[in-house]
Amino acid sequence: MFFPSDEANWAAIDGAMFIGWGSMLPGLMTFIAAVICVAVLVIGQRSEVAKAKAFDK
């Protein structure tokens, strides 16, 4: 489905050989990965602050 050539043969590949080359998939995955990184930091900060508040005098 995401083989970078219409012909399912490695002999047809002489450059990029990863899943989705030539489609939107790599760019989409890069975007999703970046969103994950940001979202995890946001969630992490919120929960850590909430837990730290429990120790405030």
Partner: protein, 500 residues
Amino acid sequence: MLWENDIPCFIFVNGPSWVAGPRLNKAEKGTPVEEQLAELAAQVAALEAASGGSVTNTMFAETYYYLTIPLMIIIHAGFLAYEMGASRLKNVLSSGVKNILAFAFMIPTFYFFGWWIYFGFPTGIPGAAGPMGISGVEYANAIAWGWGDSAQYMGPNIADNISGVFFGAFALFACTTASIMSGAVIERIQTVGFIILAVVLGSFAWVVAAAWGWHADGWLVTKFGVHDFGAAGLVHAVAGFFALGVLINLGPRIGKFNADGSANHIPGHNMPLTVVGLMLIIVGFWGFLMACVVPPGEAWSWFPDKFATIYGTPITLGSLSFNILMGVAGGIIGAWLFTRDPFWMMSGALAGIISTASGLDIYFPAHAFVIAFSAGIILKPCADWLENRGIDDAVGAVTVHGTIGLYGLIMLGIWGAGFPALAIDNAPTISLVGQIVGAVVFFLLGFVPGYVVSLILKMLGMLRVPEGAEIAGMDAVKVPAAGYPEWGNDAPVTPAHPAE
């Protein structure tokens, strides 16, 4: 040698004077560039012929493989630290003894018959020869026995430098499977019973899986297009589910479960040691995955000029570098999100690699990151699910290696569908159905031998130590030394997590 006659690489021709390296002499200045290049090419060809470029390639290719062996031994340093750290004080040395001894038994048993099984049965039973001409019982008899004519390939031989190096790398894969099982069963298993299980796993069960699914003649590859480049299924899942079969018969540690079935957390004596051990396993994984790559240009290589997977499909070391790093990162981040626990974070790193291992050769790095992240997220819930069913897996090995190994296989079936599984015309292609078939086969190749052999050992009284010995501590029973003779008691046992 390339600098001989004062003619460097052509990029320096007529370059600025600050460029380091020899320059053209005055007589050559003014000569047309084309002539200089032609002369250079002729000289390079002559030098290659004179200096034996093929010898250089041979040395590189053999050394490449050779270096995977000490790198993979780092995996075992990691497993050793990780298991000992996860053990209570009273069991710390016996856990180490068990791990070290398994490593030692893997090597000779893999030499005696594991290597032979790998080459003998890729096409299945009874071991017919495959189309690539590197499999079948007859072939295995000729190269993989330590006696008769075959012994020439199983010992030092000037005409065969590579067989021993390949053997070493594969033997270390075998050791890895045993170490995966070893962590799950700590603090209550008998040493000899464990070694028997380790031999069955490391020198038989995973080898059959490798022959079938990690060999260009393997029937899972030729018939179903199974692709498992980094052995997520045939090493990790086989070992993880072998451990599950053993754990069912072995039973939980005393104190692990309460009368109402709820689980307790039995803390190991040294979390930092465990976490560093897990990091060492990650280091060793680079050697493990490096050994999944075949260098070019040799009689035993797939290509004259390209690195290849064990299936003969192309790969680059850049693929590994991109995707292993992204896998490790994704797994750690995913595990941190919900656990905040360094043990699970580093287990997430392993899960990140394992979940992408099947397709490390063909994933896009961000894609590998996303898959690894998802593996890091599902890791702890999967381990809790298993624990709530009465399985005491002391280090989460069944989940990290078994469940995530199969998850990785299936993920590649979804995303990698349509990729040729071999580098031949009309090759079988990767498919979801094929990867599921592979997952089922690898699960059975792990679980069934693990369950059956441990059941037999249990019936023979060779599986579990007596209750009194377990309470006293395995070190007192098995080891004439103390891990920390001047220090400490076990930490209190606490509830693990809410029961379902």
